[in-house]
């Protein structure tokens, strides 16, 4: 009989207890993996979007944390384009609208000039892109179209105005598939922000290979942009994304909830292992009398907890995956959640589960190993 078989047997001997411990742990793991996976998904999606566009820098007004509140004058683009190495500078006005009757609370709406390349990143499934004359017309992502139950040439109501859907598109990012695109002049109107933009996205011709001279060139571009006026900030797209309020918030929520779940999970494991050792005092005494060293007894108990953690991690990860898949199909969340979880998150989940299991079993293992054989055997 293998040592590992012995450990396995110990667990199978108490199927209900082992099962329940695994269930408890898997709930904790599922919570962690799902939450962290989703929040990670947000920032990945954003990143994908910007990478797809080759965005190097994001230019915004600095200061207030509610970034949608800030504005820059739209003609700043002229000055930015004059800076060496700047290949493209595209401004837009962004807002968030809701359709409460359809339970859609956070729909992104982007306004760009008709000739903006930012429109062309999408694939038009039906209809067309807006031209300069297409006022009060919108293009919407296919997910949004599905959620609203609208087709080409239907109207939707935004900012108390009826607008016609002249195109339905598909984008690489789930965010965009749930968004609306329209002319910036209309947005400036609706939002009461004449001639203003939320920010600019900049594309340079500087290769992104990390070479020191290229990094210096990028820094130079940044400095020159920021010198154009007070309170202007040019941020690399990765840094920008990490600082987006929504991203920060979801990350914070994910980690706080995960921490709580893990603590409770660890206590559950501790509970189980202490009881399990407590009940086997006589047996442990016998093992020690039969020559088992303390380290072996500890390995046995720790080994049991590792197996339980592993079980919890497997089930929890599967549950988390199913949950995010499910959420990606529910209308309310389908525009935010992709239904995929990055592999590294699963790895994190497993490691955390093992850590929790280990932590919860350390004291009981130590206690069990240090029992005096005779007294232990005498116990009831």
């Amino acid at each position: 009989m293998q040592f590992s078989a012995f450990i396995w047997r110990n667990l199978l001997r108490r199927p209900v207890r082992s099962g329940l411990t695994i269930v408890g742990l898997s709930v904790a793991v599922a919570a962690v993996v799902a939450l962290v996976g989703i929040s990670d998904g947000f920032s990945r999606q954003y990143q994908e979007l910007y990478d797809h566009r080759g965005v190097d820098l994001v230019v915004q007004k600095v200061g207030s944390s509610a970034e949608l509140n800030n504005s820059l004058p739209e003609d700043l683009a002229e000055s930015i384009r004059k800076i060496p190495h700047v290949k493209e500078c595209n401004g837009g006005l962004m807002d968030v609208v809701s359709f409460p009757e359809r339970d859609l609370l956070a729909v992104i709406i982007n306004g760009w000039p008709a000739d903006s390349p930012l429109f062309r990143d999408r694939t038009m499934l039906s209809g067309r892109f807006p031209t300069a004359d297409d006022h009060h017309k919108v293009i919407i992502g296919e997910q949004l179209a599905a959620n609203l139950g609208k087709k080409l040439h239907d109207t939707i109501r935004i900012y108390d105005t009826d607008v016609e859907i002249i195109g339905i598109f598909r984008s690489v990012s789930v965010f965009e598939n749930g968004s609306i695109g329209t002319l910036i002049s209309d947005m400036q109107d609706y939002m009461n922000r004449p001639h203003q933009v939320t920010g600019f996205v900049i594309r340079t011709d500087i290769p992104k290979d990390g070479a020191p001279e290229h990094r210096a060139q990028m820094d130079e571009v940044k400095t020159q942009i920021e010198a154009l006026g007070e309170g202007i900030a040019a941020t690399a797209s990765t840094d920008f994304i990490e600082n987006v309020g929504l991203i920060k918030l979801t990350k914070a929520v994910a980690w706080v909830t995960s921490a709580i779940a893990l603590v409770i999970g660890a206590i559950g494991m501790l509970n189980t292992m202490v009881m399990s050792v407590y009940e086997r005092v006589r047996e442990i005494g016998t093992l020690r009398a039969m020559g088992w060293r303390k380290t072996r007894v500890m390995s046995m108990i720790l080994g049991e907890s590792v197996l339980l953690s592993f079980g919890g991690a497997v089930i929890g990860s599967a549950a988390a995956l199913l949950l995010t898949r499910f959420l990606s199909r529910m209308p309310m969340t389908s525009e935010l959640i992709e239904g995929k979880i990055a592999p590294v998150i699963f790895v994190e989940g497993f490691l955390l589960a093992l850590l929790v299991g280990f932590a919860g079993a350390l004291y009981p293992a130590f206690w069990g190993a240090n029992l005096q054989p005779i007294e232990a055997m005498r116990k009831k």
């Binding site: 009989m1 001997r13 020559g291």
Partner: protein, 241 residues
């Protein structure tokens, strides 16, 4: 008395030198100034009424406990100098208890393998050896049974096989027949004889029954924590009149 295979010129295996064991919490003195020598290959019985300290003495001999004062020598090595008592115990000593103490969820052959984990054998070698040991105690036909499914006599035999797992130098038995009926008890004692005769095993048996003690080569008496002379009247130590 048995045919004596006891050779007085044989080297001493265990030497107990003025050992006392007191328990501070109860102020109880379980053993007082006990000195004893056990030769290699000897079959010794330690007799006394309950509470006389014989179990304590057994535990000390088996390194399950340490004396408060005095020293115990094993092959002339003082036990107090040993850093790894566990390793020592697993290699040199086998135990048989009155209550068997088999692990209830393991089969007979698995139970026998338990002490072997500390040894050099791999899993399949362990299994083979365990089967062989069970064979030697006539329990091979019940190898796959759980303790619950065995009679008390069978359980004790499995326990004996387990005690032999690591080829110990000495077998310590604490009231080995205490929970057995007279037939199984006799069977166990026969087994001890066999071990003593065929393998030259050193046996120390603790008992309060004269029938059991008389199977050994030598009887040492203990009373109130001290070794004493054989009492004049031993009739009440007999179980069968």
């Amino acid at each position: 008395m048995n045919d004596s295979y006891y050779d007085p010129s044989a080297p001493s295996l265990v030497r107990v030198d003025r050992v006392s064991r007191t328990y501070p919490d109860g102020g109880v003195t379980a053993l007082q100034d006990v000195s004893l020598e056990i030769r290699r290959g000897e079959y010794l019985a330690i007799m006394g009424p309950s509470g006389s300290g014989k179990s304590t003495l057994l535990n000390l001999l088996g390194t399950l406990d340490r004396p408060t004062t005095g020293e115990i020598y094993f092959e002339e090595q003082p036990l107090s100098a040993l850093r790894d008592l566990d390793r020592f115990r697993s290699q040199k000593i086998g135990f048989v208890f009155q209550s068997f103490y088999l692990l209830p969820t393991l089969t007979a052959v698995e139970n026998v393998q338990i002490p072997m984990f500390e040894g050099p054998l791999g899993a399949s070698a362990r299994a083979k050896r365990a089967a062989m040991l069970l064979e030697s105690v006539n329990m091979n036909h019940r190898a796959k049974h759980l303790p619950m499914q065995l009679s008390v006599g069978e359980r004790q035999r499995v326990a004996i096989a387990r005690a032999l797992a690591n080829e110990p130098q000495m077998l310590l038995a604490d009231e080995p027949t205490g929970n057995l009926d007279s037939r199984s008890g006799a069977g166990v004692l026969d087994l001890f004889d066999q071990l003593h005769r065929e393998r030259g095993m050193t046996l120390v048996v603790i008992t309060h029954s004269l029938e059991v003690a008389e199977r050994a080569e030598r009887i040492t008496w203990i009373r109130d924590g001290r070794l004493v002379e054989q009492p004049a009247d031993t009739t009440h130590y007999r179980e069968h009149l």
